[in-house]
Symmetry: C2
Subunit: 140 residues, 2 copies
DNA sequence: AGAAAATTTGCAACTTAGTTGCAAATTCGG
DNA sequence: CCGAATTTGCAACTAAGTTGCAAATTTTCT
């Protein structure tokens, strides 16, 4: 089982043309077994005895991101962004668009998306929010 | 014009039963004029001469959040979350669900949403991501 | 209006998340 | 196994946000 995972991780790294180091294999193994997006500290915890410096973990993730093996879930940014809630309904706000080139953000007001229904039993969805990425008029 | 904005801000604060202080009026005015979600530092910048301590700005935003006048756009969390990109298409990943009670996050795999189309001309949407909030099976 | 009570503000110090430079260690290709 | 390329750990740093507390402001009560 664990051998398998190890081999799989190594294989993946090799095809991605990344150096196959202890750190990368370990982090990748954690991600392969994860059932949800993880933060650096959560990954570190799951590495257990195999300790790596947090800088190493971040840099490993960076390399995995670079080759497209990994995503940043939530397309999060580092800082919080605030806006008035006035023209948002209880269940959703307008979508936000962020330009991948210039980084500018725009509110795409005037569109309301159909409310998502979970395919998994037992989830009660109260609010949804959609984030879009692409090129803004100025950059396109 | 500016008088109007001021009055409007005061009115809003009054109905929300918040102390009507210089800081709150100023921050609210900025938000009323904003065309997109703003970070604390961006708000500070727009306050111009009316300087307030960043702690004050954060606490002001907190109070506006508390009474529901303001949102955190992107439902952002403070730290980045990473996950394997394997079962995501070029244009979207599965939606993520976060429980507002216990804070747990789940991947709602197995659903693909229709790709959003911008109602505004000139936006080229490459990727979309949906985030859901509500109660998870355990908390519901 | 004036005073007491409630709330907000600013400051300094702190935490958390993530980054950078650099020297030492590891990995790869021949 | 050697040398070049890449990765690692460390320490020090930045950015974003938080906390405690005393002083200032706002509201309420009379």
């Amino acid at each position: 089982m664990r051998r398998d995972l190890d081999l799989q991780a190594r294989q993946i790294l090799k095809t991605a043309k990344l150096y196959c180091t202890a750190g990368r294999v370990a982090v990748l193994r954690v991600l392969l077994r994860a059932d949800k997006p993880l933060r650096q500290d959560q990954i570190a915890k799951r590495l257990g005895k195999k300790r790596f410096n947090k800088v190493t973990i971040y840099r490993t993730l960076e390399s995995l991101l670079r080759v497209g093996l990994v995503h940043k879930a939530f397309m999060a940014e580092r800082a919080w962004h605030f806006e008035l809630a006035h023209n948002c309904s209880e269940t959703q706000c307008h979508p936000h668009f962020t330009c991948t080139k210039c980084g500018s953000t725009h509110c795409l007001t005037g569109m309301s998306l159909p409310m998502v229904k979970s395919p998994h039993k037992g989830f009660h969805i109260h609010r949804q929010q959609t984030r879009l990425e692409g090129l803004c008029p100025a950059c396109a």
